[in-house]
Amino acid sequence: MAQLAPFSAASHVYEEVLDNGLRVLIQEVHTAPLASVWCWYRVGSKDETPGQTGVSHWVEHMNFKGTTNIPRDKVKGIIEQFGGYWNGYTWIDQTTYTETATRDALDRMLFIEAERMVNCLYDPADCESERTVIIAELQGGENDPDTRIEQDLTAAAFSMHPYRHPTIGWLADLKGMSRDDLYRHYRRFYVPNNATLVIVGDVDTADAMRRVASHFGRIRPGDVVRRPQVIEPQQLGERRLMLPRDGATAFLKLGYRAPAVNEPDFFPMLVLDAVLTGAKGLNLWASFQTPPSQRSSRLYRTVVNERLASSILGALVPTAEPFLYTISVTATEGTPLVQVEEAVLAEIDRVRSDGVTEAELARAARQLRARLVFENDSITNIGHQLGYFETVANWQLTETLAGQIDAVTREQVGAAAAARLTQNNRTVAWLEPSIEGGSRPAAASQR
């Protein structure tokens, strides 16, 4: 089989750190007359305290509500008039904002991000209006069974670490937070020395850098007071959740404590996931829009081809601190969850004891490297990867992804499976129409 041509999101990246601490990454890509800007902040739901859950995400919403120099009524259309798109998202480690538009809009995009960093308004009426928008967002998530099981499983899997609470926040906190809580959070974390600015596209690096200095150079750095490091205690036993629901479909989710992106067994776990459920890639912005190639994966064959489940999905996402490797299964109608769980755990026991084959290793590596190519098909996606990795680790990691995947050995995958996929290290959640009728996991709980 031919060797893949080297391909990296990070080819020819220019890096500079301004005096105020803002890290700037620029990559010229001249395939379309477009430019993409991403501005990343090292603040996510892991930086929140009890009573203030959801504040990072709410702040993200407020940062689209006008600034000192962008009046509220001028926000609408500020990028769209350049044919552009802008958005933002918040997750456990990060909050980020993006614009992609014609290259002529580069200065406008940088202006918006500089304004967002220091001059957002936080009008009290807008804060109140957005409270109900976010509660509507939360309620929309509650309509989705997978969101509910994910939220409850994550809360059960961690006892101390703030990764345990949902990024959107708990409802009581959303009802109780004030405008001042939001503004304080904004001022604390939105400083240049806590940010990474990424520019990718049909730009000239020197020209772009001059514009960056003009817009951001005079912003003063701040003192980001971080929470004390929280080390989650080792999990000493399996945790189980039984969540009743009124719908007709049953869901199973397993969550294993997983390595952070900079731990040695992260890439062996990534290959292991590809063997078990198919390769997903590493782009939180793009990968999950394309289903994995998974028909030959072990768990797909075990539960989907055997008609126990209609779908299975594994998820291992690069994170700054140890998070979860999850396996999500939708049971076929009428199949007891105990049967689904037994089948999944039997396969997991097999990979823990026997490891993976050379053929599986080679296929997983090739799948993952193909996904790396596919997920870098636009300047928006390339910009996301540079900023994402800089926020959870360092952007240079994007240059080594293919090499790190290739370097994974069978022994490392087997060792990762044996160490991570243990009964003591997992949380199991069932979401099913009814837990009556003797379908409790008696057999499975013996593992």
Binding site: A32, E80, G83, S129, T132, N143, G247, V304, R307, D377
Partner: protein, 426 residues
């Protein structure tokens, strides 16, 4: 500094001897190729007694051919990291995948084998039947799905090709067997119904030659066209509530029957839809319902002008306590746009946006492929991407106002609410 697309997409188009259309466009953004095969075998071709048949074909066509087992197909796809997506909409069955450029030839051969020689093995049919039934159960439990399917059914009628649920019902899915799948494939999937678009890191001549090699010796009569009857717009307001009291949020689907894609006023309707429920965060609807009143996380409108007049639907997810207020706000925004038309600045902004967003829409192989398929399906011409700016600039404020007056009549709207709503909306 070099930039792309000064001369437009300018794809290469060829018609094979058997009637199959092949469109190729080279793009070197990544060392990858997207192959998009579209066949005129969508849900409008479902027999009346067997709704959901074409969806069942989509879920089983890639599960075994005369020479490849389902496992072997899975191995060949997975070994190359290829994710094959098979979907069906009203008019077309689509098989789409992206592969590395070096895997283009074997991937195209595999795709051709799947399109031409599926055998629908009994065991695979049974496995996928279970998956479809589970999905139907999930749909029943999803307010968004219930509302959006409900409004189409009320607009077009449950027996109409645009009104029936694409997945059929549990009862009809239970009745589908291998023979029905094979018959549907034999009747609808043929070279004359194929449009194959290839975009990526492969020269057009090579792509076309590979397509000719994979599909050129395929024989079969072009299927007869099926006429889809047009449906008249409602003459009065219709409201239906689907109570789902165990849910947290209510979903609103509010619709009209709009225009055909070939309508001379299509671009005016497109601009009108952008102003109403697309521009920035949901156009005028987003301004009112999300930004000013804080009632919804999402609200937007979507125009689906099609072979016959398709739906324009407005969608919103709101707290149960806000359902009446949200629907009243939609009514109000429609009335204002229909009465006063758009402002001059709205015309400029939406037109600039629709023109300016084209390079973004045409940045990826998949984006280009989807655009070229629509171009082919609706007969828009290979230079359509170059003509779009002129078409949009020619739309006048009066034309948009007229479109709004024609369509956005709240007293003739069809409204479906699904969720924990116990009110008595009118």
């Amino acid at each position: 500094m070099t930039t792309a697309r000064h001369a437009g997409l300018a794809p290469a188009r060829a018609v094979l001897g058997n009637g199959a259309v092949v469109i190729a466009k080279e793009s070197k953004t990544t060392p990858a190729v997207t192959v998009y095969a579209s066949l005129r075998a969508g849900t409008i071709y479902d027999p009346l007694h067997l709704p959901g048949l074409s969806n069942f074909v989509a879920r089983t066509i890639d599960r075994g051919t005369e020479t490849r087992s389902a496992d072997r197909i899975g191995d060949e796809l997975d070994t190359r990291g290829v994710s094959l997506s098979v979907t069906v909409d009203r008019h077309a069955l689509a098989l789409v995948c992206t592969c590395l450029a070096e895997d283009f030839a074997p991937t195209l051969d595999l795709l051709a084998d799947i399109v031409r020689h599926p055998v629908f093995p009994d065991n695979e049919v049974e496995t996928r039947r279970g998956e479809i039934l589970t999905l139907l159960r999930q749909d029943e439990d999803d307010p968004a799905e219930r509302a959006s399917e409900g409004v189409l059914r009320d607009l077009y009628g449950g027996d109409h090709a645009y009104g029936r649920p694409p997945r059929g019902s549990a009862e009809s899915v239970e009745r589908v067997d291998r023979h029905a799948l094979r018959r549907h494939h034999a009747e609808r999937v043929s070279p004359g119904s194929l449009s194959l678009v290839i975009v990526g890191d492969v020269e057009p001549a090579r792509a076309t030659a590979a397509a000719a090699s994979a599909f050129g010796d395929w024989t079969g009569a072009t299927p007869a066209t099926v006429e889809v009857p047009e449906v008249a717009s409602a003459s009065s307001r219709r409201v239906r509530v689907i109570p789902m009291m165990n849910k947290a949020q209510a979903d609103i689907a509010y619709g009209f029957i709009s225009v055909r894609r070939a309508d001379p006023d299509y671009d005016a309707y497109r601009v009108m839809n952008n102003i109403l429920g697309q521009y920035a965060i949901g156009g005028r609807l987003g301004d009112s319902i999300r930004e000013r009143q804080g009632m919804a996380y999402y609200v937007f409108s979507a125009l689906d002008a099609n072979v016959i007049p398709g739906p324009l639907t407005i969608r919103a997810g709101v707290s149960p306590a806000d359902v009446d207020r949200a629907v009243a706000s939609i009514d109000e925004e429609l009335k204002k746009l229909a009465a006063d038309g758009p402002t001059e600045s709205e015309m400029i902004e939406s037109t600039q946006y629709l023109i300016g967003s084209m390079p973004r829409a045409l940045e990826t192989n998949l984006g280009i492929s989807a655009f070229l398929q629509a171009e082919e399906y609706f007969g828009l011409g290979l230079d359509y991407d170059l003509r779009v700016p002129g078409l949009l600039r020619a739309v006048t404020r009066d034309a948009v106002a007229s479109a709004a007056r024609q369509l956005l009549v709240a007293s003739r709207a069809t409204v479906v609410v699904a969720g924990p709503y116990a009110g008595e909306m009118r």
